[in-house]
Every structure is written in structure tokens, then in C-alpha cells.
Symmetry: C2
Subunit: 208 residues, 2 copies
């Protein structure tokens, strides 16, 4: 990794941007809440603005013991990932970003460990909202540290894996549960609608 080859790679002057799917492009938390209320109307729920943990099961379990199997049954169900609503502005922003000179965008997403539906449905989601060409720009991996890039835009504040020092700089996409977290100096991207993503990309491009 890196060394002579890495330095050559830098010389290609292409900014490689990795973008997470759930919580960044697709509204996992919002869709879960909708489905949860529909499927288990008798159970307690957590309003989006009160969400505090990356894995929702961690917070739901504080409400009532034994909710885990019900929670899993919702997001492991057939169709859950395919039906995720896009986050406002995300798809247009990604298409525009990928058209910028010297910028290459890839979607970098973790399938569930229960991969049965999520792996196929993530590709289907991308195909539907971004177009078939983006199948070629989609990486499914449960370890994102092994993917090469200059930026990873991801809502998960802690990203760990086999590579201790990934090539990318992690930019945290703001979500209800992470908005009050201490990012220890990491940059944030708050949304896809106010145009701030363009400044972020231009700033990284200058550093190439």
C-alpha cells in the first residue's frame, strides 16, 4: 500500500470521493421509524430528534428489554433497503459531484451481516435513484478502511477495520443521533441542500 505506487496514484489528480448510503444518501432511521410504528404499533418508539446511538438497536433496548428480535425483523425484511427514501438533495448532489472535472465518486456501503436482501437491494436502490451506470460505482464492504479514497462521507462517527490509517479523511454526515457528538476535529457535512458540499469538494481538490 502507498509507497512508490501510492505516490504515483496521487499524480493522477483525480479526487476519489466515497459516499456512504444509509444515513447519508438514504434515510435509514426515518424509514425504520415508519415501518416500526406500522409493524409494532403497541411498542415504544424513539422520535428521530431523540436518537442518540449509531445502531438504533442499542438505544431501543434501553426502552424495553427484548425488543431486539422485533427491531431486526423490521430492517432485515425483504424490501426494507429497496424502499429507503432518498435524503433530500443527495442524488442530485452525487450526480453533479461526479460530473465535476477531476472528481470520481463511489458509493461505499456496508451490507447487513444478514446480507440476504440488503446486498441486492442496495444495488437496486442505486440503480433506481442514480442510474444503472452507478452499479459500476458501488462498493459493498463491511470494512471501509480497506477502500482507497481521499474523502469518506459517512454518518458513522467511528469507522474501524483492518487498516489502522485509512487513505481517506472521514467527513461526518450530520444525523439526528450524531449531531451532539464530539467529532475530535473531524469535518462535518450537514446536508445535501445548502450547497456546502461543493465547497468541501473544492477544498479537497485544492490539496491534491
Amino acid at each position: 500500500m502507498a509507497g512508490r505506487r501510492g505516490i504515483s496514484a496521487m499524480a493522477q489528480k483525480q479526487l476519489l470521493v466515497l459516499v456512504d448510503l444509509d444515513g447519508v444518501m438514504a434515510d435509514f432511521d426515518g424509514h425504520f421509524l415508519t415501518k416500526w410504528k406500522q409493524t409494532y404499533p403497541e411498542e415504544p418508539f424513539i422520535a428521530l430528534e431523540d436518537r442518540k446511538t449509531f445502531y438504533l438497536v442499542d438505544q431501543y433496548e434501553t426502552l424495553k428489554e427484548g425488543l431486539k428480535p422485533k427491531i431486526k425483523s423490521v430492517y432485515q425484511s425483504k424490501g426494507f433497503f429497496r424502499e429507503l427514501p432518498p435524503i433530500a438533495g443527495a442524488c442530485d448532489a452525487l450526480k453533479e459531484m461526479n460530473e465535476m472535472e477531476g472528481v470520481e465518486v463511489f458509493i461505499c456501503s456496508s451490507p447487513l451481516f444478514f446480507y440476504k436482501y440488503s446486498s441486492t437491494e442496495k444495488f437496486a436502490w442505486v440503480e433506481h435513484y442514480l442510474g444503472a451506470d452507478w452499479i459500476n460505482r458501488t462498493i459493498l464492504t463491511r470494512d471501509k478502511t480497506i477502500v482507497n479514497g481521499h474523502i469518506l462521507i459517512d454518518d458513522n462517527v467511528k469507522i474501524k477495520g483492518a487498516v489502522d490509517f485509512p487513505s481517506w479523511e472521514h467527513v461526518v454526515f450530520t444525523a439526528h443521533y450524531n449531531k451532539h457528538m464530539n467529532l475530535r476535529g473531524k469535518k462535518r457535512l450537514d446536508n445535501w441542500t445548502d450547497g456546502s458540499w461543493r465547497d468541501l469538494i473544492m477544498d479537497f481538490k485544492k490539496r491534491l
Copy 2:
């Protein structure tokens, strides 16, 4: 990519080995031939030892015009990827390799553009033959140049993508169709059974 962060990454002294699935771990060509003869016994076929191209459709089309839809119907069918037989010694070698001190192994595989079955079934294959832990070590991407590693063991002689100079050194896994090809200096791994993979890994480890 690379630069300061890349150099830090080298300091972790973990050899990252990426291994392709089809044609390296799983016998795509052999399984296709079996299914092809079963499904279209009236059509011509190419014996494995006469295979000459990476994409089998390229060679089959020289036999008879209009075979493409039939060929696709075989490898795009439900169950095709799940039923791929392992290549001799591959699974044991990968498990042993991943147990070696300072070695991290990941499976790096391209789903079909028609991803409907292949994406899920590749995870299912890995789970079945290597164990559920390996779901965490499986990367599905149609662009392998963007994955970080020291070695990529892959039967495809030409691997192109968004990154002009990938971090890995490509080691070509020998297959019927590539055995006579000029590798322009690339190393080969001929099989998983004669133990030569251990020498290959030890040689790369020395260079870390």
C-alpha cells in the same frame, strides 16, 4: 490516498491480500460448461482447455452467432453463483493464509452488472465455504483498483478502473484461458495445492 497517511498505513506491517472469487476460489468456467451442456445440449461448446478469453461470451460468439442471450441465461440464473464448485485447495489456503501472523485476507469480487442473484449468492458462497466471519472480509465492487491492498490475486489479466496505479501488485491466478497469455512481467500463482502460495506470501511479507 497515500502521502502521509499512506506511509503511516505501511507502518502497520499487516500484509493485505485481496483474493478474487470467480476463477480463483470458485470454478466459474467449469460450472458454466456443466450447466451449458445440461441446458443447451444441442449447442456447441468450448472445452476448458480450449478456452482463450476472460469473458466466455467473447469466445462462444465466435462459434455461432446469437449465442449471447443463451449464455447470459445460464450465468444470470438463480443459484448459478451459489452452486459454483470451489477450486481445489482454495478455501483451506485462504483460511491458513488469514491465520498467518501479520496477514489480513479479503475476498474482492465483482458482482455481475445483472446483480440480482450474484451479489447475494457471492456472500452466501463465502459464508458456506469459509464461514460467517468471512462476510466481514468480502468486498463486492466492479472496480477493484479502488481497493487498497498489497497483493490482488486475480485470474483477469487486465484490471482497469478509476485508479490508474492501484496500491496492489497484481498476481495472476492461472486459468485455462490465461495460461498462454503474456503477463508482461506479472507474477503467477498456478494453483492452491502445491504450497507455492506460501512462498508468494512470505516473499511479499519480507518487503513490508
